[in-house]
């Protein structure tokens, strides 16, 4: 097992994107079960010591630095962090939950024009064209990308939090006040 764990660590060290269990098993010529066990051991070992940890995201595994080193790494790399505005985040959330979704459907949910936000998210590679809807005009369907999962440290779209349609927030209260009489 120690050999498998060391090999996994080596493979994950050189991987520049999340590696799936299947791809790791294929490269190492071992079973997927052995890889899963090896990853568990590696995860525990990395948590105990060192500056790296095993991260599960975008359907695979990747080595990442521990958060406590964030400040010093940021000072070293000087990364350009692009914050997402509230409107971009809203569009991204709607696409993530309703995908595949057309621009007009998205605008129907938001109630405002959203073409700029969509274009901006496409440029950031967080969403992408995933096809065309078989209706007149064949509008483009948008969906989230692997980069979205990576950027938000999400392993699978199923891990997104559930949205609560019964949420009694301000808009609901206004609607009730207006229409309940």
């Amino acid at each position: 097992m120690s050999q498998i764990v060391d090999t996994l660590e080596a493979l994950l060290f050189v991987a520049d994107q999340p590696a799936t269990i299947k791809s790791l098993a294929g490269a190492m010529q071992v079973t997927e079960g052995q890889v899963e066990q090896g990853l568990e051991v590696l995860e525990a070992r990395l948590e105990e010591r060192g500056s790296l940890r095993l991260t599960k995201l975008a359907g695979g595994y990747q080595l990442a630095t521990k958060p406590e080193f964030a400040a010093v790494i940021a000072a070293f790399l000087k990364p350009q962090r692009h914050r997402l505005s509230k409107s971009l985040m809203e569009v991204l959330a709607i696409v993530a939950y309703q995908q595949p979704i057309t621009l007009s459907e998205l605008e129907q949910v938001r109630g405002v024009q959203s073409d700029y936000s969509v274009r901006s998210l496409v440029e950031r590679k967080l969403i992408a064209e995933v096809g065309r809807k078989p209706v007149p005009g064949r509008p483009v369907l948008y969906g989230t990308t692997q980069e979205f999962l990576h950027q938000f440290k999400i392993n699978d779209l199923k891990d997104l939090p559930e949205i609560d349609p019964e949420r009694d927030d301000a808009a609901d209260i206004v609607a009730k006040t207006l229409f309940d009489d």
Partner: protein, 260 residues
């Protein structure tokens, strides 16, 4: 003309502030009385106008006009106003009744779920994004610089080429307005022209183009030249502060026939 005061005394003023119509008597199967009374009853919803035929009333009005001994246009106008009101009212009543609008007793149907229901999700995504910014991964190798030249031009930079284009554009003449739909010159045609103009001697771009030329032609010249450089059929080098061009010594790649 009678003074205003005399008129006011002679003509009674109605509750609407207009002169009351003359005592034209109308007799219909459903109403018998004066025009003023009919007007009052209709206005107060005491008589259903649809049941009152207006033809006999109009006849009575014409009879009144024809037999008017003393011309009193104010009274005649008041009668006409009352009659017009009745006709208009009845005309509206005869129009088809539109379907009643649905009462808004329930909220309008909104797409489900609406944007505000994503608030929790948006907040979660924001937190995750923040957490993600605290960890670092092995970075992917940077892609090609979008401004990188596709071929090596030794010491010629994109800035040098841009400067040559700017210099050329400054000498371009204003473009005349042309009708839409004019066929566009293809880039391959322009490349052939440029190739014929290029020689073994190094020349500035503006020395190769025959004046006068428009901005459109200048851009076409420049694009054709860039494409020829990319294909290895033209050469460029820096001379002083400018770039100069010449025909390349090797001539391996032909000009494509369909380049646009």
């Amino acid at each position: 003309m009678a003074p205003r005061q005399q008129l006011a005394e002679r003509n009674s003023i109605s509750s609407l502030g207009v002169i009351a119509p003359p005592p034209i008597h109308v007799t219909t199967p459903t109403f018998d009385g004066s025009l003023a009374m009919l007007f009052q009853c209709v206005r107060d919803h005491k008589v259903h106008l649809l049941d009152v035929p207006l033809f006999p009333i109009c006849e009575a009005y014409f009879f009144y006009l024809v037999n008017l001994d003393e011309a009193d246009l104010d009274e005649a106008a008041a009668a006409l106003t009352a009659l017009a009101y009745l006709i208009e009212r009845k005309a509206w009543m005869l129009l088809p009744v539109p379907d009643p609008e649905p009462e808004l007793d329930e909220p309008l149907e909104l797409p489900t779920p609406t944007a505000h229901e994503y608030e929790t999700a948006i907040e979660s995504l924001r937190i995750w994004h923040e957490e993600r910014s605290q960890i670092f991964f092995r970075s992917v190798e940077a892609g090609p610089d979008p401004y990188e030249l596709p071929v090596s031009l030794d010491n010629v930079s994109p800035g040098d080429l841009a400067k040559a284009l700017e210099k050329l554009l400054r000498r371009a003449k204003p473009e005349s307005i042309k009708p839409l739909g004019k066929p566009r010159k293809s880039l391959s045609e322009q490349m052939r022209i440029v190739l014929q103009t290029l020689s073994e001697d190094w020349r500035h771009l503006e020395d190769m183009i025959e004046e006068p030329f428009t901005r459109y032609e200048a851009v076409y010249w420049f694009l054709a030249l860039l494409e020829l450089i990319r294909l290895g059929q033209a050469a460029v080098r820096v001379e002083g502060e400018d770039v100069v061009f010449a025909r390349a010594s090797r001539n391996s790649t032909p000009v494509p026939a369909t380049a646009e």
